[in-house]
Structures are given as structure tokens and as C-alpha cells.
Symmetry: C2
Subunit: 702 residues, 2 copies
């Protein structure tokens, strides 16, 4: 297989050239367009085509949204425990709880074959921009242009697949500035080799999630097989003896999911002052409600568990994002970037004829701010937090929308979406009356608090009752808990739905006129305006900067770089690494209470007077590399492309990386390569695995 | 001692008479003005002067804000465990933890003498309205009138004390419509007889607080001594054999602390739509912050524990209050009451000359709503949640205020308050840097979110930094953690404070101009307007209704009544009582996990195959009596003045009783008299105590 590096900047720059202002270690770079200049100037590192090809082909994409890498010639693959958790859970079945027990195959025979895990390795990259653009002539209407683009992309993908048998995806980069054809080798026989207990992989649980210092062995090892034998791998990452050192230049090769770094200052300010605060207010409210409901009984805690975890996770993410948005340095940087781009755009004659896309986005943000609360409460269902209301609305709107021509329906009732909508609607997942009443009471209270109890819509909704009484009446009165009843109404259509007079459907009906109007306004005056304006900005940016910078993340392979480095927080220095011994201190200081409890293997080591585990071995560390969701399981490598660590989290300050890179405090968090080997050898008695990682041929452990 | 029942309605009614609209079992009635008519008409119960005297003299006031009653001729006093907790803790010293162990004096000799507990029993009531009003002539200015009133009250109290040696207090009733002289017999030798473990007294902890059904033995027994011997008590409550039965008429005699039942509809609407929602938003935010900080380590949890408990308690109280305010029935009732009073007031000729007090209060509520957020954030310190900021502001303002004449200072810097201010300011209570930074970061974020990051005041406060960086800089940079430094600045006055350039003082200085302006506006345009308007309404109400109804609660003895009755909640019937066996079920369903763990004595009984404890004995029950904070420990008695229960909580729906009575769901929660006896005999082996309660002479338990 030949690697085709056919990169052709096909556009003539009519705009004034602006050198993009990048922060030192910024960027999720294309392997076809690496940050060679930055690496050379700042780190005197010459990145070669050979180095790039080796790292690219050693990198593995997990279809469930994670990253990984080959780490032995015999197909051994390293990723995070949380990337492998689904496979571990499935393989346990009724007999084992591998999340709890951990797993260690002492020979190839014992490795557990996963049923539905497909891994991809990127083999070829081809620039197909001209081919795609060639099919889209300027005379086409936007709708026809989109169709023509879809068609040519499908053709390119099919031809490539037929020719190479590789999985072939055309990837849209720079918001349409470039199109690349990515071809992947697939591995479908993947087996579990080793996993520690989830307890140690996610030590510190939710309290420590997004935090640093950390003490997690978030590791899972798989092996790729071909023809029933361990795959013979040409490109795999060797293990570094030294591991990550302070101030060392490191690289992260992985699959960042999505960034929105074009977001304008006006929209960031809207998010900072309006959207994030309101979202946090709702998340705080939900968290208190769920915790207080959970505290009342073990049964309640079980019912609320999943929702609670999601709420806590979102709350942390928003809080971290808001912290970044409130950092003036961050905003100043964004303003400077934007100013340069706007100045360049202003020089173009046609720019004077219409409102600039930046100003249109600012206008849309104002519209959104004005309707945000009512929209979120009514159309967004924050005022009706009950799954039963969702079902009621789906039945009501389903009855009204389905008779319409496909193109005129609300998108979620379009023909192609009906199947998944029905799948959700007819789900037999349990609905608990008491939990529904508690959630609905709270959200009706929130509705009345936000809009005022005398608001006509609120009065209609409450119907002369207190939120608690109204919620009880609705939840106990509705027939929608019964899946058969839902099916009957869905199939009966509008007539059946209208005749049912089900209280939950009638509630949805009460607010539907205003709710639909708000949605229409949001779609036409905000979403559409933004979509068009951002497309224009992307075009301007690409014209101005071309490929001198990196494109937004797209779930495809990227190279980030940075240095191993601590930071200042709360007036204190946060050191760049933690040691294995630290986990025992942290567990002890928290009385070994969940989620700071240790698995038995670790407790045993702690007690043993002659334990071999070296407590001063580095365990976790941080670096400035630019990462985001999707990078989970990415290898951290040094200049020699040797593994020095394994990405598993970002600290809370990194949660603003969605919008822009910052290295003041944002850090990627990794397991240290030495910590992995030390734990394998002296906690898990998995010398065989450690041997294979460090380059010795594997022998079965006795 | 003679009981003086000198009740004289001294005012001629010039207003149209309005029969107060009372809900069925409403009222915290004066013993001098019981609800005889209501009891006769609804319950065919004739309340006699003898019955009233007996109950009054059997009732005991605990100085720490609770209630109690004599329950044996030998001075045995019953109250709540949480009323006695302070005494139990103090007596434990280093040797015992009586809160954990419980306590049982097996003979009088073993009873534990409390060092600082004073109990009061109300012996005489005299109407002194004419005496007080006689001293306040109409020609006096408001300031002189207040002084004259204070003077005559002090004289009446002194004369009464000199004459009778009883503690003598003049109590202001009906907001000044009446003045009564209350005379109390004091007991200062009080000893602890029995207390169960706090674990069972507060079973279910915070999650079950303000909830029902409940399973709590919230009981503590003391004994009053005179001259070193158990006091011989003429009036004590006998024990009911049957205990509280469903639908039975019961009475509560106790000391409700404070109600604000004059609150106008406009102010209630302001609270419902503006004040409570904003307060809940802040409490939710604080709770999530404290829980998430606590989750990070046991040390954090310890630092945040007290604050967290307070926040959770307030959140529940507000949520309950808001639930009531959002109940349309509640508001309709308030509106009808107010309409009648306003109609009566409108008939008076002078009422046309000025804006009605109701309209002035409505206007003040609008002003408050407009400045509430900025006021709360800046002057109320919600934007600067750090004890160090409070110290900084106290030093800054102390320097500015103390040189002013006493009458011109902010009240908290007045001569009479300086001592307690210094006591707080120089407290050596520990201040934790990390906790302060976390709280300050969060509150600066809240400030920016509420006012917008581009608000000039916010920009000044953040000073070009992110909330986290600014908080760290302030907390680590201030010298105010050092008590000696505070003392020096306090003593050095304005010059020293200005010269110090302490960052926390300078932060307080930055916002002080706007903060003081907001406070001035709040005081002059809201508080003063309300104070005058409510005084007018009180006068109108008293003129119209006179003593045909009950006055607001004043921490003095009142009689409430109601029936033992369940209610509807979430579409389900909540039964009126729980059984002893229920506690084992509830503990088991929650895996005996704190706060649903049981004390060893109870676990032992649960395991014993031949345990005598009858599981179907009533344990807790609810009734419709009108109670509020201060009623803790009040006896619940039947028509024969026999004990059928012991008040210890109100359900969450009762938390609106501050503003108005409602019996739809609001319930007082009590320990059942039979549950007490059964637990004493068969869990605590305290047959001696049970004997004394049920009327047998006490023998020492072997």
C-alpha cells in the first residue's frame, strides 16, 4: 500500500494573508499537514514523513468514539479502561463481572474475543477537493449543490472501496475548504488481553473526574487477530524506558471528536453571560433534586442513578467551560484572532454590501437570549421533566405531522427518522411513578418560578393546582405508562390521540402552539442565520489562512503536541506528575470510602511488608497537548515515537478547548508508561504483559 | 399564686366589624383568649378555665427556643431529643458521648445536673395595655413615643418582679394592639433522666427531615429539682392509655416562635415569583458546590460539613414554603382575607386621602424586585462568599463608621453592637485557604454570570483575571487570616486600614459605594415603607377583628388544636400513623446505611427471636394543629389533657405556615405516646421511666 500525500492548496488567495495567531502548543493537526514549522522553531524537532507514517499506522480508532495504538508486533493494542468497559461488561455475562474483578489472559488462548468491536487503522490519505468541487458547479442552487456534493462523495468512496477493499470515507475539512479521502484497514477479530478493576481505573470516581492530581490506572489492552492468529504488525509504538519527563516535548496521536473553534466572540459572550449560567442553574437544580430524592431510599437512589451521573458530568463540563470563558486572557486572544479576520474580510469590496457574518451571529445571539428561557422551558421540556410528557408530546405531534408531506414535517417525524422515534416511543424501559412525580413537581415549580405564577401559560399548565398536585394528577392519570396503549394511539393517529383525552397528551397540547412558535423562531432567526454566517466565516478563514493552520476536529486522526508541565491553581503549583504511592495516601485520607476504596490486590500490596511495588514510580502526568473528547486512549509519545503515557482525561480547565486552545491551566491527563509497567509486574503479577509491552517476547505467566 | 385573667378589649371599634376567615383548625391561641367558639361548634368541646389553667401550668418553656411539659408529680419533664441535645453533649465531657450512647439514670442519684439550663412555667397573665398606652401620649414624636413605651414596660416588669419574685416579661401582642404581663416560675436545677441515641432520635437524618412518614424517637426527659429534691408539681399532664387515634381532637400547648401572617398578597407574590426562586437558585448552587468539594476528600467534607447542613436545611424550608405559595388555594384564601380587610379600611374617610398600606407594600416589593440581584450579590455578599471578605468589609466600614456620631452609623457599628462585632471579628475559628478559594471562585463566577462579565462593577472586581485566579490571589494575598493583624487594623482605625492595602479590604472598598447605595435604597424605599405600612395594617386588623382571632407568634405560650389525620400526596394516601415495626423495614430497605442505620439496642431487638417489642405499636403520627418553630417538644394532649404525643417536626408542606395556616397537607409530626412507652420498656429496659410516665411511682431499675 502506498501512502498518497497529494496535498494541493487549490485556491488562489484573493484575501489579504493573515498569519493565524496560534498559542504555543495549539492544534489538532492533520498528518498531511503537520506543524513542522512550529516544532522546528520552538523545539528544534524535525518531523519526517517516515516518522509521521509510522505514528499514523500505529494509531488505532475505536468505533465507539475512542483512540488507541499498536504497542507490540503481535497486535497488542493499548487504550483506556473506559473505552474497553463496554466489551469487558459484555464478555462477563452472568458468570463474571470483569469491571469489578479485572481480567488477565495468561496466554493467547485465554484472550476473550469481542463480538462487535471493529478497529480502524488509517492507511491512505488522498486530497479529493478538486474532484468534489468539480462536481458542484456555481450555477447550482444550494439544495442541488448539496445533493451533487453528496453524490460525488458517495461515488469516490465506492470506487475507492472497490479498488482497495479498505474502508473509505471522504472527510470534510476546514468546513468544506478541503475534502480528503481516508482509507482504513479494519480489524474485526479483537480480543481482550488485560484490564485492571474499574475501581482503580476510575479511582476517585465522579469527585476526581476532570480533576488533577489523579491516580488512575485507566488502561485496557486488546489484541488484534487476523486469520485466527495474532496480527503481525509492522508499525507499532515501542515502549520508552524513561517515560515522560518534565518539560519534555510529547505528541498525542488520536481522534479528537468535535471542536467549534470558529465560534465568534459575540456567541462566546452570549454563552458566557446567558447560556452557560442558565444551563448551570438548571443542572444545579437537577443535581440537588436527584441527590435529595436518592437520599430518601436505596430504591430511589437506584432509579435516579443514571440520570444523576449524567447531570453531574454535564455540570462539571459546563463549569469548566464557563471558567475558561470568564478568563479574560482567553477572550482577548479570541478577539484578536477575530479582529484580524474581520479586518481582512472588510477589505473585500463585496463585504460592504451586506451585514458581516459576525454581526449577523451577534444579532442571532440576541434573539436567542430573548427567548432562551421560554424556549428551554416549553419546547426544551425543562418545565415538564417527565418521560411521560415526552411520550405525550411525541404522540400528539406524531398525529399531526405524519399526514403532512415528508418535507414539511418537523424533522424528527420525517420518514427516515420514524423508525428510531418508534423504537424510543415503544421502549419498555421502566417508568417509576414516584420519580416522575418528583421530577415533574420540581420542573413545574421551575416553570412557575421562571415565568411567574401569573403568566397565562403557567396558569393554563397548572390548571388551578399546586405543582405537586398537578404533577400527581398527571402522572397517576395518564395511560401512557402502558406500551400497548402508546402503540394503539400511534397507530390510530390524530383521531385516536384526540379522542384519548389523556392528561399528559392534553398537557402537551396546551403548550404546543407557543412551543412550536418558539421553535420556529429559534430555527429561522437563530439556527439558520448562524449556519449561513458560520459557513461564510469558514470560507473567509480558509481563503485567508488556507492550510497554514489546522481544521476543526472531525473524529479523524490528528497529531497534537505539547510539553509535560504542571500549572498554577489556587495560588499553588500543581506538579506535573503523581507517584504510585500517592494513591495509598489518597485512599487512606478518605478512609478508603467509595469512590476512594482500593481493589483487594492493591490493599494486599499496601499491607505486605516486602511488596516490590516502587511507590515513587510516576503514576499519572499532565501535558499541554491540544485534546478533546475522542482522544481517550491516545498514546503519548516522545520524539522517538516511543510510548511515554496514555491519555485518559482532561482537567476541568481543559473543558473550554471546545472553543479555543489555552495552555495556562488546561492539561491533558495521562497514565505514565512506568506506572503501567510497575503495576502490571508488582500488583497484577502480569509480567508477561509487561514483557510484551517493553519488547520482550511474550511467555505465558505461570 | 392567683391567676389574673384581666382581659379587657380596651378599644372602641370604629371600623366595620369583619369576622376573620379562619381555616378549620387554624390558630396559635392565647390562653387568655382560647378558640372556645370554634371548639364548641366544630368539636362540641367546652374548654373550661380550669382545663386551661391546668394545661398552662403543665407547660414548660426551654430557654433555647423549645417547649416541654411536666409529665409526673415528681417534676419529670418531657421534650425533644434535639431540644436536650446541647445539655447531653455538655454533660458527656471527655468520658461519654451521650448523643451516641444515649442516657438512662436508673435512680434519682444518677440524674445529670445541667449547668446552664433554665426552664420557665407561665403562672400569671395580666393585661397591661392601658398602662402601656397611657404612658404614650398622642403628642409624642415616634422616637419619643418608642422611648416612653420602653420606659413604661421596663417599669411594669420591674415592679412585677419585685413584688412576686417571678420572671416578668411584658409581651407585645397583635403588633401593639395589646400588651400582656407574663410571669414565670423559674427552674434552674434541671437534671437529665433519659435520652435515646441521637441515631434513633433523628433516624433518617437530613433526607427524612421535614418528611413524613417518619420513624423517630425524638424524646428527652429531664427532671426539675427544688432545694435539691425532685420538684413537687401540682399541674402535670397524665399519660393517655389509648394514645392518639385517627380523627381525634388534640391540642398542642407550646411556644411558637414567630409568624408573619399579616404578609400581604403583593409581598407573597413577590416572594413566590422573585425572592424564593432566587434564594433557591443560590441554595442549589451552594449545595452542589459544597457536596462536590466534600466529595474530593474527607478533610474537605469536615471543613464544609456545618455549612452544608445549614444550606440543605434552608433549601428544604424554602422549597416547602414555595410549594405552599404556589398552591392556588392558599393564595385565594389570603386574597379573600385581605379583600375583606381592605374593604373595611376603604370605608373609613381618612383612607381616601393617602395610598393604602397594601399598595405601598406592593410598591416596595417592586423596588425590591428591581434591586434584589445586585443587592444580594454586593451588599448581601453572595458575590463574595468568603469569610475573609466579611472581615475585610468589617474592617473597612469599622474604620469609616466609628468616628461618626453613634446615631449616624450603620446600625451594626453602633456602640451597643460593637462588642459582639469584635467578638466575631477576632474569632480564632479556623479559616481554610482551599475552602475559601473554592467558595470565592464560585461566588465571583456567580457575580459575573448574574451581572454579565462586561458589567463595570464585575470588571473592577475581577481586575482582568478569571474568577479562579482572582479568588486565589485574594485569599493567598490577604493578611486577614491572622487574628492579631485584624486586631491591629481595628484598633488603628481608618488610617491603618487605608495604609494596609490588604487585597481583601481593597476588594470591599471597590464595591462599597454601590453596595452602600443599594443598602440605603433597600432600607428607605423598602424596609421603612414596609414597617410603617404593616404597622397600619396591624392597627386596622386589630380595630376590625379585635381579639376575635389570635395574634402572630411571639415565643410565648399558645394553644393550638387539630385532628389526627393523614393527607393526600402524589396521588397517594399518607396514613396518619407509622408503626414501630416500620423502622426495621425502612432501615433494611436502605441496607442500614447512614442515616438509616440503627443503634445496637435496636439491632439486638430486631435479631432476638423472643423480643417483647410489639411491632404494631404506633410510633409517629400527624395532626392538623397549627405549629411553627419553637413548638419543638410541645406535648400533644387529648380532651382530658392527657399526653397522646410529642411534637418534633412539621412536614415540608407545613413550611408555609409562616404566612398562613393550611390544613390540606400541612401536618405537625409527633412521637406517639404508646411508641414512647413500648420503646422504653422493651428496647431500653427503662421500665422505671415508663412507670413514672404512666402514673406508677418510680422505682430504681435493677
Amino acid at each position: 500500500m502506498t501512502r498518497m500525500l497529494l496535498w494541493l492548496p487549490g485556491l488562489v488567495l484573493t484575501f489579504a494573508t493573515v498569519t493565524p495567531m496560534l498559542h504555543a502548543d495549539e492544534g489538532m493537526w492533520l498528518f498531511t499537514n503537520p506543524p513542522s514549522k512550529q516544532l522546528k522553531e520552538k523545539y528544534q524537532f524535525e518531523v519526517t514523513p517516515k516518522w509521521l507514517e509510522h505514528v499514523q499506522k500505529s494509531s488505532v480508532r475505536f468505533n465507539n468514539g475512542g483512540s488507541g495504538s499498536f504497542v507490540s508486533p503481535d497486535g497488542l493494542i493499548m487504550t483506556n479502561h473506559h473505552v474497553g468497559a463496554d466489551a469487558l461488561e459484555k464478555k462477563g455475562g452472568d458468570k463474571h463481572d470483569y469491571l469489578k474483578e479485572g481480567f488477565h489472559a495468561k496466554s493467547n488462548d485465554e484472550e476473550l474475543k469481542c463480538e462487535d468491536l471493529e478497529l480502524n487503522v488509517l492507511m491512505n490519505i488522498e486530497d479529493v477537493t478538486d474532484k468534489v468541487n468539480g462536481a458542484v458547479t456555481p450555477d447550482l442552487s444550494p439544495v442541488k449543490a448539496a445533493a451533487a456534493r453528496r453524490e460525488v462523495i458517495a461515488r469516490i468512496e465506492k470506487e475507492a472501496t472497490d479498488k482497495t477493499k479498505l474502508r473509505s470515507d471522504v472527510v470534510t475539512l476546514y468546513q468544506g475548504g478541503q475534502y480528503h479521502l481516508y482509507q482504513y484497514k479494519k480489524y474485526t477479530d479483537v480480543r481482550i488481553v488485560f484490564a485492571p478493576e474499574q475501581q482503580i481505573a476510575f479511582f476517585g470516581g465522579d469527585p476526581d473526574n476532570f480533576e488533577y492530581p489523579r491516580f488512575d490506572l485507566d488502561l485496557c489492552l486488546f489484541r488484534a487477530y487476523e486469520d485466527g492468529k495474532p496480527a503481525k504488525i509492522e508499525h507499532y509504538l515501542k515502549w520508552s524506558k524513561a517515560g515522560a519527563k518534565e518539560d519534555e516535548l510529547v505528541f498525542v496521536s488520536g481522534h479528537p471528536g468535535r471542536t467549534r473553534r470558529l465560534t465568534t466572540v459575540a456567541e462566546l459572550e452570549y454563552m458566557r453571560d446567558i447560556d452557560y449560567p442558565f444551563t448551570l442553574q438548571r443542572l444545579n437544580r437537577a443535581e440537588v433534586l436527584l441527590l435529595s430524592f436518592s437520599g430518601r431510599s436505596a430504591k430511589n437512589a437506584q432509579e435516579a442513578k443514571e440520570t444523576l451521573f449524567g447531570v453531574q458530568n454535564s455540570r462539571k463540563a459546563r463549569l469548566g467551560g464557563l471558567g475558561g470563558l470568564l478568563d479574560p486572557e482567553f477572550m482577548v486572544h479570541k478577539k484578536e484572532q477575530e479582529q484580524k479576520l474581520r479586518a481582512a474580510a472588510d477589505k473585500e469590496p463585496q463585504s460592504r454590501e451586506k451585514v458581516s457574518p459576525w454581526d449577523r451571529i451577534a444579532g442571532a445571539a440576541k434573539v436567542r437570549a430573548n427567548i432562551l428561557h421560554r424556549y428551554t422551558l416549553l419546547e426544551g421540556r425543562s418545565g415538564f421533566n417527565s418521560g411521560l410528557f415526552g411520550i405525550g408530546r411525541a404522540l400528539l405531534r406524531g398525529g399531526e405531522e405524519r399526514p403532512k408531506p415528508n418535507g414539511e414535517r418537523l424533522p424528527e417525524y420525517g420518514e427516515s427518522r420514524l423508525e428510531s422515534l418508534q423504537f424510543q416511543l415503544f421502549s419498555a424501559a421502566p417508568i417509576y411513578d414516584d420519580f416522575e412525580i418528583v421530577k415533574l413537581t420540581d420542573s413545574l415549580t421551575f416553570l412557575a418560578s421562571e415565568l411567574g405564577a401569573d403568566d397565562p401559560q403557567v396558569k393554563k399548565v397548572l390548571n388551578g393546582k399546586s405543582p405537586a398536585d398537578r404533577a400527581a394528577e398527571l402522572v397517576t392519570g395518564t395511560k401512557l405508562k402502558d406500551v400497548a396503549a402508546r402503540k394503539k394511539l400511534w397507530e390510530g393517529g390524530k383521531a385516536a390521540v384526540d379522542a384519548a383525552k389523556d392528561p399528559m397528551i392534553e398537557l402537551a397540547r396546551l403548550v404546543d402552539t407557543e412551543s412550536r412558535a418558539l421553535r420556529k423562531k429559534m430555527e429561522t432567526e437563530v439556527d439558520e442565520v448562524n449556519q449561513q454566517a458560520y459557513a461564510e466565516i469558514a470560507k473567509i478563514k480558509f481563503k485567508v489562512e488556507g492550510t497554514s493552520t489546522y481544521p476543526d476536529a472531525t473524529f479523524t486522526l490528528r497529531l497534537s503536541y505539547g510539553v509535560v508541565k504542571g500549572y498554577e491553581e489556587n495560588g499553588k503549583r500543581v506538579p506535573f506528575e503523581t507517584k504510585l504511592g500517592g494513591i495509598f495516601e489518597r485512599a487512606k485520607a478518605n478512609n478508603y470510602k467509595e469512590p476512594f476504596d482500593l481493589p483487594e490486590r492493591w490493599l494486599k500490596v499496601e499491607k505486605e511488608s516486602n511488596a516490590k511495588l516502587k511507590l515513587d514510580t510516576p503514576f499519572n502526568f499532565i501535558c499541554t497537548a491540544d485534546i478533546i473528547g475522542g482522544n481517550s486512549g491516545s498514546p503519548v509519545i516522545n520524539k522517538d515515537a516511543e510510548v511515554v503515557g496514555l491519555i485518559f482525561d482532561g482537567n476541568i480547565q481543559s473543558l473550554v478547548l471546545d472553543f479555543a486552545y489555552t495552555e495556562t491551566q488546561a492539561r491533558a491527563v495521562s497514565v505514565h508508561s512506568q506506572g503501567i509497567i510497575e503495576a502490571l509486574r508488582h500488583v497484577y503479577n502480569a509480567g508477561d504483559v509487561a514483557d510484551e509491552l517493553t519488547g520482550k517476547p511474550r511467555k505465558a505467566t505461570k
